[in-house]
């Protein structure tokens, strides 16, 4: 069960439209290292996470990623709100516009639709946590790439907030991986999947 709060985790108030920038930032909604993929990655992985503390962490970070998805969508929405046909053409937004008008649809900046193949849920705690740490770094790099193109402070500030959260999450996942490894005995560091019972009894 989730509970909605009628507020953003970080405020977004953008007064200048910019369709070109919107198309780039959209990648952090539905792109390969975006917030939708992040939320579904962690929320899918938690069911087979053997350590209950780490399952809790996946739930909490997965939930925060949904709030980040809302921030990214708010940025894209406010950058494209009330565009005129002329602004759409001048800003190179026509290829997105023709299919989605000014609605939000999860895709990468290059137009690749969101797909669950952007993330993995492998049912193995170490495999999954190593993926999660890499995912946080890939998202941080994407925000770095976005920040080099942004000169509007109103857009910069929420993007910088989201970038910082990737770093905090990376730290927490690093600690989670350490916790999982501390649970392993010397015969399984790392030989087989600690979440797959049948393998454990063989040792």
């Amino acid at each position: 069960m989730w509970s909605y709060e009628k507020r953003l985790q970080y405020p977004v108030k953008i007064t200048q439209c910019n369709p070109r920038l919107a198309q780039v930032i959209m990648s952090q909604f539905g792109g390969p290292d975006g917030e939708l993929a992040a939320s579904q990655r962690y929320l899918s992985q938690r069911y087979s996470m053997s350590n209950p503390k780490v399952a809790g962490l996946l739930t909490d970070i997965g939930t925060e990623e949904m709030a980040h998805m809302e921030i990214v969508c708010a940025i894209v929405h406010q950058l494209t709100r009330d565009l005129t046909p002329q602004q759409i053409l001048e800003g190179g937004f026509e290829k997105y516009y023709v299919d989605h008008t000014l609605g939000l649809w999860p895709q990468s900046a290059g137009g690749i639709p969101f797909t669950s193949t952007f993330f993995q849920s492998k049912g193995d705690p170490i495999t999954d946590l190593v993926e999660d740490m890499a995912a946080e770094q890939k998202a941080r790099t994407t925000y770095d790439n976005i920040l080099r193109l942004v000169h509007d402070q109103e857009v910069c500030e929420p993007i910088k907030f989201l970038r910082q959260r990737e770093i905090n999450h990376f730290q927490r996942f690093g600690e989670a991986l350490r916790m999982i490894q501390d649970d392993l005995n010397c015969k399984n560091f790392y030989a087989f999947n600690p979440s797959f019972k049948a393998d454990l009894f063989k040792s």
């Binding site: 509970s3 909605y4 709060e5 009628k6 507020r7 953003l8 985790q9 970080y10 405020p11 977004v12 108030k13 953008i14 503390k53 780490v54 809790g56 962490l57 909490d60 970070i61 925060e64 809302e70 969508c73 708010a74 929405h77 406010q78 905090n168 999450h169 927490r172 600690e175 989670a176 916790m179």
Partner: protein, 85 residues
């Protein structure tokens, strides 16, 4: 919270909530950190008061806190992504 206007109180709730968002995931991996636990308790108390005050004066923030009097207020006012609240 006395004497705060709507925007200031809302910003205050956002800041307090974020402290708890970051503390929550820290406590997931450091569940015995007494300093962090004390900090959580302290911030939680202030946040609860702020949310209660805001909900009473300006309407619900949480979907379970909609007070029904003469009308349904949940969908009133701008949505968060509109950048007007």
């Amino acid at each position: 919270m006395d004497g705060m206007n709507k925007d200031k109180l809302f910003a205050c709730i956002g800041a307090l909530s974020f402290v708890m968002d970051d503390l929550r995931i820290y406590l997931d991996t450091h569940p015995m950190d007494q300093e962090a636990l004390d900090y959580w308790k302290k911030v939680e108390k202030v946040r609860n008061e702020a949310v209660k005050e805001y909900t009473k004066c300006y309407g619900p923030i949480n979907m379970y806190d909609v007070d029904v009097d003469d009308r349904w207020t949940w969908a009133e006012g701008p949505w968060p992504w509109e950048g007007r609240c």
